[in-house]
């Protein structure tokens, strides 16, 4: 990871990862489609054009004055990569890539499912091209695997199918989770082949394992072993830190997430929490070893007034500044594509007014 003298939009974040205290809390909004729209492009370029996706994110960070850093990510990962079909966002109501056909919707299809050739299918070539821009600009190479094992599996089969299999045909669920794990490990390996592992920050978003879908007991049986294996294998590749967006209400899963490694050799992991998880609780449980990021409610960024957003951010910053390994102000999930720009400015103002460590 770039630690030279030339500052980048990710400078504060990188310093935090290397154990140096930045002068203020970094503000990394988790902002994708908004950047394309703000630059006058259709939202779809975020997912289908690596160059435009990268530069719209970079320029938006510079324009609004936040700390970056560009990221290629979509939560539907797994379907397209395993041979299903997706639809790029087109209308004003669409936020991200949507699955139109799942590749394995029956137990027989799961059995027959073959691991895709590494790097050749779905979004992976685009994500890899995106990471080349990150590396060129000496930014953190935040890349594969994009999603956690359970989310990938749900995207392959359809979440309703996977949910039923947890009870009705657990062996099918395990077969699918096994294949999803192997694919995600292989894909991260591709990043290690192309980039210096010390520069790579694998990004993992895990919405489907939230307690709005499954129980903590189901998490323990069907998520924990595979997710832990994924993280262990990633760290064994020489990668120092993992960025994990623990999406949705996962309060009841937090004790299980504590059993999963996010970093090695004294580096911190980066854990991003949804607004439904109590930020203080997240700091108490994970803050000793990890940078805590979050968790401004996206709906407020969309529907709130600049004043409301500002005060919500101040509230988060005040709590977050107590995190022992550092805190990053972030939206609790992706910043809404149609969010009013003044609300992003309000977030920047909050960090400027209250983010400094004094």
């Amino acid at each position: 990871m770039h630690t030279g003298n030339t500052p980048t939009v990710a400078d504060r974040l990188v310093r935090l990862i290397h154990g140096e205290a930045p002068e203020r809390v970094p503000f990394v909004p988790f902002i994708l489609g908004f950047c394309a729209k703000d630059a006058g492009y259709p939202v779809s370029v975020t997912y289908e054009d690596a160059e435009k996706s990268f530069y719209t994110q970079l320029h938006t960070a510079e324009k609004y004055g936040f700390d970056g850093t560009p990221l290629y990510f979509y939560a539907s990962y797994g379907a397209w990569e395993f041979g299903g079909e997706v639809k790029m966002p087109q209308s004003q109501w669409e936020q991200a890539t949507m699955i139109t056909q799942h590749p394995a919707e029956s137990p027989e299809a799961v059995e027959a499912l073959e691991l895709p050739p590494v790097g050749a299918t779905g979004s992976v070539p685009l994500a890899l091209a995106f990471s080349r821009y990150q590396a060129e600009h000496q930014l953190p190479v935040i890349g594969a695997p994009q999603v956690g094992v359970f989310t990938a599996a749900g995207n392959i089969s359809g979440v309703s199918k996977l949910a039923r299999w947890l009870i009705k045909q657990p062996e099918t669920a395990h077969t699918l989770l096994r294949k999803a794990t192997d694919h995600l490990v292989d894909t991260v390996g591709l990043w290690v082949e192309h980039f210096d592992p010390a520069q790579v920050l694998p990004f993992i978003g895990e919405p489907t394992a939230s307690n709005q879908i499954i129980s903590p007991q189901q998490f323990e049986t069907f998520v924990l072993p595979y997710q832990r294996e994924l993280h262990e294998k990633i760290l064994d590749m020489g990668i120092n830190s993992i960025v994990c967006h623990i999406c949705g209400d996962q309060t009841a899963n937090l004790p299980h997430w504590q059993q999963i490694p996010f970093s090695r050799d004294g580096f911190p992991g980066l854990l991003s929490f949804d607004h439904r998880v109590d930020l203080q609780q997240a700091i108490d449980l994970f803050g000793a070893d990890n940078i805590i990021t979050g968790n401004v409610e996206p709906r407020m960024i969309q529907d709130g007034s600049p004043d409301e957003v500002y005060h919500l951010c101040v509230e988060k910053i005040t709590i977050g500044k107590t995190a022992p390994r550092g805190y990053v102000l972030m939206s609790g999930c992706e910043v809404p594509v149609q969010a009013p720009p003044d609300n992003i400015r309000a977030m920047v103002q909050a960090i400027e007014d209250h983010g400094y460590y004094r």
């Binding site: 109501w93 709005q212 969309q302 149609q338």
Partner: protein, 220 residues
């Protein structure tokens, strides 16, 4: 055992079979109920539906999660499918009609399907438009069916913005139709902001909210 006791015992077992998400036993018991001469609508209302009501409570209490509720819904619908041909045409529920769908731009439908299930189990007639539904279609379907409630679901903060557009379109044609909204990014505050009539955080609460909107008894 008296006929009354036999009825109560059978309905109780049907309710338990739904809660235990035992599809096979649910169908078998529904078949038995018809064979012994129970009224099919009675079996739906006081067997299957009460089972789903209990499932809703277990979901609220975080005893059941989506996998369990989906399995229960399979048992419920299997039983309902078996009973439907035996339901008398005059056995109307009178609970009201609901049009439901996930708005345009959004393909997430698990929550919407759970709300549909709970509403059907509670006796509402539900017209399911599916997911990624063009906004005008909600209005057209309301005009066609005369439904009392439109239930709108969105999981994304971007598709959520389609909700007030549907509401505006609906109000322009028929201001008396009640609008119920839900989905992960939606909240009680959204009701005022978007001009809706009701919000339900969970599928089970959607039934109470629908009853409230139509001034129906809270619980039968």
């Amino acid at each position: 055992m008296s006929a009354l006791q036999e009825r109560q015992e059978l309905l109780h077992h049907i309710r338990d079979a739904v809660v235990d998400y035992d599809e096979e036993v649910t169908v078998e018991l529904c078949s038995n109920a018809i064979q012994v001469g129970l009224d099919a609508y009675d079996v739906v209302a006081n067997g299957l539906a009460l089972g789903m009501e209990e499932v809703g409570q277990l979901y609220e209490q975080k005893e059941y999660f989506v996998p369990e509720v989906l399995m229960c819904s399979d048992a419920f619908y299997a039983g309902l499918q078996h009973l439907k041909p035996h339901i008398r045409s005059d056995a109307a529920t009178g609970s009201g009609q609901v049009i439901i769908g996930t708005v345009e731009g959004d393909v997430h439908d698990i929550g919407k399907n759970l709300v549909k299930l709970m509403l059907e189990a509670a006796g509402f007639v539900v017209h399911d438009l599916g997911k990624d539904v063009p906004l005008d279609k909600f209005v057209q379907e309301q005009q066609r069916t005369g439904a009392d409630i439109i239930a709108l679901s969105a999981l994304m903060t971007t598709s959520m913005l389609a909700i007030p557009v549907v509401i505006e379109k609906m109000r322009a044609v028929n201001p008396n139709v009640k609008i119920l909204i839900g989905g992960a990014p939606v909240s009680q505050e959204s009701v005022d902001l978007y001009g809706a009539d009701g919000y339900a955080e969970t599928a089970a609460r959607a039934v109470d909210e629908a009853r409230r909107l139509l001034d129906l008894p809270y619980q039968e």
